[in-house]
Symmetry: D2
Subunit: 282 residues, 4 copies
């Protein structure tokens, strides 16, 4: 195994004869700091987990992984709004050379100030968000936002002399904005928080706790109710062309979860059920 | 809030006027014991995490969650092969009444005996598997299998005087069998283990460790190589009509992973690249 | 780097001169099938994640990892009660040679039949359990059991006109039995299920849901209440000498959890607060 | 269940008669933004997961959870060095009133600039860190830092004609500084990165990859070697009085991990093996 090399060969570039083009190849789970533009026109630092992919032609043995990282690192501590994300993917496509499309997923925690409903105490709360982007012939962009609410069960309330079982409800909303429009994380959060039995808060004094308990009890929602109310609100937005809603109630009376999915896309002026096959939601 | 009820009303069945039909609603993360048929004609107990869904018409407020569990529980400790899974989904569809389609995902650990390559020492090793089933007009079935291998980097080997960086490689292979055919977990495992730089084993004595070290070094594979070799082998199976391969190398020289996806379906006698949009692999 | 070897040297056995004896060294996350003895005298198959450790003297470079696995694999599909665990650790200690102590942690899911409270419908439910064993001068054994219950908040109930916020409550109870005594998983589960606002069940029909909703509402518990009620019940057992209780309420009105720890050991006939330093519960 | 309340009763403060004092009660998993002081005298924003606890006397029914959050929220976006952490815990203790001790755990990602070894390309890399603090009679502080390295196996190298199996190695180092001294995250990272077979980097060009491959191959380390080399380096620090090291090699030839723990504390001028019982490292 005597090896001695002065110049370093580039194995990735050698010819591949298996005839298998690759849908996506790249890197996942890169820790990465960047700035996010907020609805109130600030720029906030977030620490993201980033995934980057490109397609790869059948005749090329391997992609050049270091170019993914090298291109990404130029944007560290930079603002990553929709425009810059497209700019970034164009730079990556150019750097990689002969590829048809490039993708990125950027997962981060986004903090928002919360004020308790009655005592008006301030705290901060974080929401898990994701930007999903693809650059092929055109640039595609999706925003995913996860929002916690409290849920109270309408059936349990109706059939019981008192009380109603309650639990954490986790909603995940993914939207694809119309070309040229913007959707703010803040708007999605507001839609979901209005669709649960009640908002959740990090800080609640007793007067607040009374308020949220009574509000949730008077506003019971099945997992289907929350999903539908989110869907109805999303359909009223002029700015989106596709969405998927997942609501997961971590049932307090069961060891398993109750889950609901709704997916829609716009055809002309009308919203249609997205004809999902099994692989769509898996 | 004076409530007193003798008969229990069924809130789920009340009319819903929001006009939003639901793609999927049901339960996730049910712990469940069942039997799996093995290639060598035994039946082995596994403990699964089960998800169950159905569609729901726009006019119905809520599904009947307890019917999902009730139907499932009848199959506890029962054999869940492809035939029984179809039987189970037909029973669930009937029980739920007026629904268009029902789904299940069944995740479990599957144990296989491993013999070390030189010293022939026996041990057992587990593989994460999933059955994904859908019953709409016809019955759809997919099998997902996760297999660990070791990977050595061809570039690192070529450019270095000695050594080559190695790491764990995690492959996830999902296949859809042709109608009327069977694909065994054991066959998928064999395909993946042949496509890595070397198999992994729970128990290796020194003679075995020498063998696997040398074999991996002489058989370096990029993440693209492993994915392509799996794809080539899958394409030779007459029994499948669609597959997706994900290979993830947990790079030992980086804090992030190298990842590759290949997805194909069969059109007539030819395998075609599946024209994935962003949402397909997300 | 010309290497050619006919006999294989044993690097692990070479002399180490750093003067650092090792508290524990071994293997973690071994997938392993074994049998557990149940309270009703059956033997049930479980699939465990196993960790194995030993101490290592300062002068020895490395332990012999394959001996851990080799010894363990002899017990696959075997009954692992307290007696066999001691037998296993003695075999491991002998196999490893010159070590002062050996340890194992065995994590598994344990299934129990559940009957819904009113409709008497049967289902199965799983509980995460762990055996922790150490063999030094004597054999030490601990049993850890995780049990889900539902919790309703007493404060929320008291201050609100109607309703009370409810949520999943996760209790983790670890006990050390007295020498020569046995503690059954089933007994710990019963203690915890009695200490929550209400038990949880996989399968509940409407009459059952009414029962659990009303029972939980009439039986509200702070996280401290559940922890104390578990502690009181454990202190009445003659069979244990030490315990630690963790109760975690996944608050439905907050994005964070409410958590309580109680740890006690027996000195003579009296239970004493375990004088935990920071590192004890961390 | 007619309830109508004008003033809100404080259930937590009611008398408890079970006689069970509580070791710790509080809140876990609070998302929280704060500033960390760096070794090079900057202040960087991090997003932490925070846990907060206090002891609770036997006669008091419940703690006041909202006071934990209220006190914490005053420090949002504030610098949390050792001094401020003590200040924060003193404020919490005062706010809670009659409690003996209070604790906090603060988990965050900490970013550091990395320069590739040969091509000198810049990137950023994150490390998981934790501050653990307790205020009882005095203030206790611990720092936990997780560092990834690459490991090559000395046995595999020695017995094989070529190559050596390599993998990710995850080290977790927890230290307790001497009273009045400071330990920087940066110092712990440097110690661990020197103790692995080689550092890992987000960005490596081919010349760098050659360097890290060859360095790792020429510098093989068992999990015990890395743990001991970290321990030797920590013992030379004058600033610490206790440490625990965990090294976990994610073996590329096995489905399980190789793990090593070393724990020491200083008695006078000498380092002693910490006489861990089973519960210490569990």
């Amino acid at each position: 195994m005597q090896k001695k090399k002065d110049s370093l060969p580039d194995i990735q570039r050698t010819k591949d004869r298996r005839g298998i083009s690759i849908n996506r190849v790249g890197v996942e789970n890169i820790d990465f700091p960047l700035l996010i533009a907020t609805k109130d026109k600030r720029e906030v630092l977030v620490y993201a987990k980033v995934d980057l992919f490109s397609s790869l032609k059948h005749g090329v043995k391997g992609t050049n992984m270091s170019r993914f990282i090298e291109t990404l690192m130029k944007y560290r501590y930079d603002v990553m709004n929709k425009e810059n994300l497209e700019h970034f993917l164009r730079a990556l496509k150019k750097k990689l050379g002969n590829v048809k499309d490039v993708y990125t997923r950027i997962n981060f925690k986004y903090f928002i100030k919360k004020t308790s409903p009655i005592s008006k105490k301030e705290s901060v709360m974080s929401y898990d968000c994701t930007f999903e982007c693809k650059l092929s012939k055109r640039f595609h962009f999706k925003l995913k936002t996860k929002v916690l609410t409290t849920s109270n069960c309408p059936c349990s309330k109706e059939i019981s002399k008192y009380g109603a079982h309650g639990q954490r409800s986790r909603s995940t909303v993914t939207v694809e904005p119309m070309k040229g429009t913007k959707v703010w994380i803040e708007d999605i959060i507001e839609i979901v928080e209005n669709a649960g039995s009640c908002e959740v808060y990090p800080l609640l004094k007793r007067t607040d706790e009374k308020y949220v308990t009574e509000k949730a009890y008077m506003n019971p929602k099945f997992v289907e109710d929350t999903a539908r109310d989110i869907a109805v609100a999303l359909q009223q937005l002029k700015t989106i062309r596709w969405f998927r809603v997942k609501v997961c109630n971590e049932e307090s009376i069961h060891p398993h979860d109750a889950v609901c999915y709704v997916e829609r896309h716009k055809k002309g002026k009308r919203w249609r059920k997205y004809s999902g096959s099994l692989r769509k939601i898996t």
